[in-house]
Assembly symmetry: C2
Homo-oligomer: 371 residues x 2
């Protein structure tokens, strides 16, 4: 069993208890064709051949190019290069983690990141449940080192609450909501209170992965690939402001919210900016929170980062608890298989206790990682 693996470093140094707050599974391409109710299977997200090329279809989205059938079929589902087999095989994955010096991982999807965009509620929910089932069976049940984040669409709040209850029973340990909610129902509205309450009751951190709930490819002109990568990070900044300034974090004081794959270097600015408006524009501020917006984020908000050092450099402004290191395994922009070198570089001047919290200790508290 994967459970028997031990981290390669000793337990005496808490800095060696490294947990990635953002890693990805790679779903089998036929997951939804295999698992959807029979009446929905011909509408399942799936790979097809079109004009001599593989494309991946998700209802309501433009077909996504995946290379040609003559290519290796190892699962280039998001066009980001060929993924490690650890993306779908938990035992191989544990081997990769051990080699890289990582103990636990919070698991996010690859293809299912786009499932929030499926317009039809029945199909959207069926796809979410199928993904959550697969994630629980494949990873959550394989090792306590895997904390799965269930996919929870938010258009239908009561259904979302039901699914949170259901995935708690499956052994998943977190819920993932779309970074971009439906445009007519932003996250500052109290319609979502039952979702926050359910997550809080189960001790589930609520996470928002960049690029979910709206197309992450809004700019297709010059510089688009770079611009869009910045833009999805702006979504995380906006989201944290919505949740703090509107009073969601105040009303649900045990709720933790996590912005995922957005980096951390902007956090000090968002905190300062929110507080400046809260104090200097006080006559327009509603609701009047009992504390500054930044106080709620320091207590209940978190952001994940990998290679970028400025967020750690700013910990004096943000506090240490909001910062969660992440490998982004198996993505090319992540730290795998060079996690040790990356951590050594980023934390060169950081106190051991602070490093321990950021690279794994805080994630262990949030997601229940134990060695």
């Amino acid at each position: 069993m994967s459970n028997d693996h031990r981290p390669p470093e000793g337990r005496h140094d808490e800095r060696a208890f490294v947990n990635s707050a953002d890693s990805h599974v790679v779903e089998p391409l036929d997951l939804w064709q295999e698992r959807l109710p029979a009446r929905l299977r011909d509408r399942a997200p799936r790979r097809i051949e079109q004009d001599g090329r593989w494309v991946f279809l998700v209802e309501g989205m433009a077909p996504k190019k995946m290379g040609s059938p003559s290519d290796d079929e190892s699962g280039d589902a998001d066009g980001a290069g060929h993924f490690r087999a650890g993306g779908f095989d938990p035992d191989l994955r544990v081997g990769d983690l051990d080699e890289d010096g990582v103990w636990g991982e919070v698991l996010y999807p690859t293809i299912a990141l786009f499932g929030f965009l499926i317009p039809d509620p029945e199909l959207r929910w069926a796809c979410a449940r199928a993904y959550n089932d697969w994630l629980a069976e494949t990873f959550a049940s394989a090792s306590k080192r895997f904390a799965g984040a269930a996919m929870i669409p938010v258009h239908e709040v009561a259904t979302a609450v039901d699914e949170i209850e259901r995935v708690a029973g499956l052994g998943l340990r977190s819920v993932m909501l779309p970074m971009h909610p439906p445009p007519d129902r932003p996250y500052n509205l109290d319609v979502y209170d039952p979702i926050w309450a359910a997550a809080q009751d189960h001790g589930f951190p609520v996470s928002f992965h960049v690029g979910t709930g709206a197309s992450p490819w809004t700019e297709r002109g010059p510089g688009g690939a770079v611009i869009n990568y910045v833009e999805v990070g702006l979504g995380a900044q906006r989201n944290l402001a919505y949740l703090a300034a509107s009073g969601v974090l105040e009303r649900f004081p045990e709720l933790h919210v996590v912005m995922v794959e957005c980096g951390a270097g902007w956090l000090a600015w968002v905190l300062e900016r929110m507080d400046e408006a809260f104090e200097e524009h006080a006559s327009w501020v509603k609701p009047k929170l009992a504390a500054k917006p930044s106080d709620y984020v320091r207590r209940q908000g978190h952001v994940t980062f990998g290679n970028d050092a400025s967020g750690v450099h700013n910990r004096h402004f943000t506090g240490v608890e909001p910062l969660l290191w992440a490998s982004d395994y198996p993505h090319p922009e992540g730290t795998w298989p060079h996690t040790r070198e990356t951590i050594a570089r980023i934390f060169a001047d950081v106190a051991p206790s602070e490093q321990a919290a950021i690279v794994g200790g805080t994630a262990a508290s949030l997601y229940g990682f134990e060695r």
Copy 2:
């Protein structure tokens, strides 16, 4: 003449040469009724009484509440409290600057910030020219300590180039473009090259003030005042990515671009984020810049900040040249009349040469401030 004033501190310490890269004038409420061509005067931006309240009208925008006629009429044009008379009187203004330890200022508008949103091109251009004329006559001609930023709409590129030529002759020293360009013509398109070329030729920094070109009040629900203040800062981050990643800064290597009133604490993150996409997603990156996107920003990009310290803390990541301190006089969220205390706090641990560059030296180079 205002020119005769001397900064209160001696010339021996360059840290005492403080120049604000973002300050505001407050236009007379009848500026456009006085200065527009006769045929447009009844459509001029103006204050009227409506249902017993003052409102300010700008064609194409919702009326803006300004208090009741029984209030003091000193010019509460943006609802942000009563402004100092230095907003429209250059001699009183110089007195305020001297008391606060500030030498030069880059001047941005108050009411005219919303002039970019006037839908009709003829009226929009007439309003811009009237503002530019007033700014030049009132402030640019009064003292070399005032560097006026001309308002330049961008819908009609040839007209914009003509206006840049015209304001150069009026003694204005910078141009202000809308932060949000027309939605169908983002700043990564080469249609704007004549504007960049004209600004570069005149040595005019091109600035983008937060909240211009699109309504800055997008969120009106819970937390809106705080959320919107964050959101306008996101516009600055996006804009810098557009200008760097698309190659604008590469094609115009002497052009300087300035994001105004957005704070600086996010800049390290934008630089790291752009470079990560540029390097790790290289196969999708167009154009292939000769250097990393961050290199162009370090050379040609700038951001203004006032009270917030995290941007200065990150200067190791961003370089010192992009950072421009600003008072935001006479706004309540600015540093006036406590500039000395604010600067002492923010720069407590900063080398004197770095402080000198950030509080005034770089602005002096960009905008031509001389003592």
